[in-house]
Subunit: 401 residues, 2 copies
């Protein structure tokens, strides 16, 4: 009887059919599943293996049968276009794009240290880089009847996921029409991640990939596309994922006063060493690694690293491929969708007992990261991109030789 009861409970749990996940992930929320990899894993490979790619779900993972899956494209003069997965794969040319996705809440925990914010307590690893394969949203919109004159009344492309809450409300978000239809925008309806079918946690069978734009608009388990004069009316577009002044609190906030986050600002963080690491003086050198990325296709052109809390700075080495592989050619201007990994090895400063390692990145619009967290603190804890700081203790050799 006990066993039977347990099974009943289990099958009434909407999360019971969520997929297995890699045990190394740091779980911020189990239901819905939200997890990030240990930071040092991010530096191990330029392309993040799918199992380690951060997971950010709002609801249970929907179970989608690929054979009966249909994508609906609405709002264009030609009426609704409905496509099966097979049609999507065969009617349109396949493109691959390597793009970094970052959660708006990445590094939220640093804002929580200043003052409590609302949201999952993400560390620095709610960001990952993958190669996505699929069809261009532009091509599908053209097939559905998009013509330039549509831009006279339409301004947004809305996406609806097949994931939904207990009341039946689907996840939804939108992006500007010009990003969606631009030849340069590279927005994909992706059915592959790193050369394989999309994993269940990443939107199987089809998700949107909007390079350069906050994760929340990269709708997974895509069910519907709507071309519209309006932004998505969803909670996540209207009353969430927006930035406010540090002086704005829950009593004074007016969500209409700020634009929905789309392109993200310049970002970087130190993946190794970990904060609080103790190293021996006889090592003589220290190697620091991390990632750097900017939204909107802006390329990271430099990462500065300090070992003394920001008083003096060194320029790190950047890479945009896995070690041993030839680097990808420099992306066309405005299409730098993927991060750079960086590394620097520096001599340990003499007579110092603690290093305060700091990194800051610069993109090709010469945007820089802000120095400190409090002036960018905001009630939702989004857009946390101040310099990243890590403290490392140096243990002197006490043996006296």
């Amino acid at each position: 009887e006990d066993v039977k009861k347990q099974q009943t409970v289990k099958s009434s749990d909407p999360y019971s059919s969520d997929p297995e996940r890699h045990p190394v992930l740091h779980v911020n929320s189990l239901k819905p599943f939200n997890a990030e990899p240990p930071p040092e894993i991010l530096s191990d490979s330029y392309i993040t293996p799918s199992a380690f790619f951060f997971k950010r779900n709002h609801f249970p993972v929907p179970q989608v049968d690929p054979a009966s899956y249909r994508l609906h494209v609405e709002g264009l003069p030609g009426g609704t276009l409905t496509l099966s997965l097979e049609e999507l794969k065969t009617r349109f040319p396949k493109h691959t794009v390597t793009a970094t996705l970052q959660c708006a809440g990445n590094r939220r925990s640093e804002m929580n240290e200043v003052k409590q914010v609302k949201g999952l307590n993400w560390g620095i690893a709610a960001i990952s880089n993958a190669t996505w394969g699929g069809v261009k949203l532009r091509d599908v919109l053209l097939a559905a009847g998009y013509r330039p004159d549509v831009a006279q009344w339409a301004l947004h492309v809305q996406f609806e996921g097949l994931d939904k809450d207990m009341t039946g409300t689907n996840y939804g978000a939108s992006i500007p029409l010009n990003k969606a239809v631009s030849e340069e925008g590279d927005v994909l309806l992706a059915y592959e991640m790193n050369g394989e079918d999309l994993p269940a946690d990443h939107g199987f069978p089809v998700r949107v990939v909007v390079p350069g734009v906050v994760g929340a608009r990269n709708v997974k388990w895509l069910g519907k596309i709507i071309v519209s004069a309006e932004e998505s009316s969803s909670h996540w577009q209207q009353n969430d994922y927006k930035g406010f002044s540090p002086g704005t609190d829950w009593d004074t906030v007016d969500f209409k006063s700020a634009p929905a986050i789309q392109e993200l600002p310049i970002q970087s963080a130190i993946t190794t060493p970990e904060d609080g690491t103790v190293i021996d003086r006889d090592r003589e050198e220290i190697t620091v690694k991390g990632y750097a990325w900017s939204g909107g296709g802006r390329e990271v052109i430099r990462v500065d690293v300090s070992l003394d809390g920001g008083k003096t700075w060194h320029v790190a080495q950047l890479r945009s491929s896995d070690e041993g592989k030839a680097p990808d050619p420099s992306p066309p201007l405005g299409k730098a969708w993927a991060w750079k990994l960086w590394e620097i090895t520096a001599p340990l400063p003499a007579e110092i007992k603690e290093l305060e390692i700091v990194c800051k990145a610069v993109d090709n619009s010469y945007n820089m990261q802000p120095d400190t967290v409090p002036p960018i603190w905001n009630l939702r804890g989004v857009l946390s991109n101040a310099w990243h700081r890590v403290k490392v203790k140096i243990r002197e050799d006490l043996s006296g030789e």
Copy 2:
């Protein structure tokens, strides 16, 4: 005889035919002429009157006869296209664009306070906003034979000014081809500024206006346009107007290691009150005004102002038109070329003898200004966009009433 000698000296001075300038300008260099308006003038009008618009010349102002003026467009399959001023004005549709221009060296004086840099000691007013009238560079390039397949080998559009140094080297710069030919890029060959012929100091009869891009690429007295696989080989493109790490000095700098500045980062400054102002306690309120702008067509969405050095923040009111006039409609996404003026009136904090007023702006990619100058210091003193700080003393009423 004295008079004659004086005239000879005067006529051998290449700057002797430079135009008259408004006496209120703060002159940073007389020959070549470089000057900025008093900051409070910038807040007086959304469109900066041409007489007050900052002047940044590299050489003597060239004397150009509009009747014999010719613009040469080179490098396209059709061969060289040569246009008179009359042809430029009559063969192509006229467009107007309100765009803010900013010198790369704006606010350099704040970097000089940290450590000496090389360059003119600009204050906060090497930025101004005007309405430019002219033809689209895109239209002229199309007339000169530009076709999409040109983009397979060409990457840049070079500009040559008619201004030149003593050795006969013309001023030159380039911009990316995609900015030049994009329908959205709004690059103009301007022959009007604020509804009148271009003034001599601003490039009469024709200059380039590259909205969202650093002043140095907005070549004045335009003589030649060259479509090319290469950037301009000029000093100003290759060995100047680039940003470096604060740790890079003149012994270690490698100008090839950094990209030429194009789009500028988020910027704001306080135009009034002036640093060092003393105000009376019985005023009870203080009004702070300033400007905010971002490069790349990114719109300023918020300006935060602090009266206590950055500990607490208030949101300023933004405007994008002259007072009394209806505000311009919100610009299309990615085409916010003009600044916002901002203002805030706040009660004087009690029991405080000195205010440290600070401003910082946010653009619609949620890029923020860095907090402090030293970490963005660079040997050329460009891209100075840290929070702007102004100190104001409060004089207590000593009469005792």
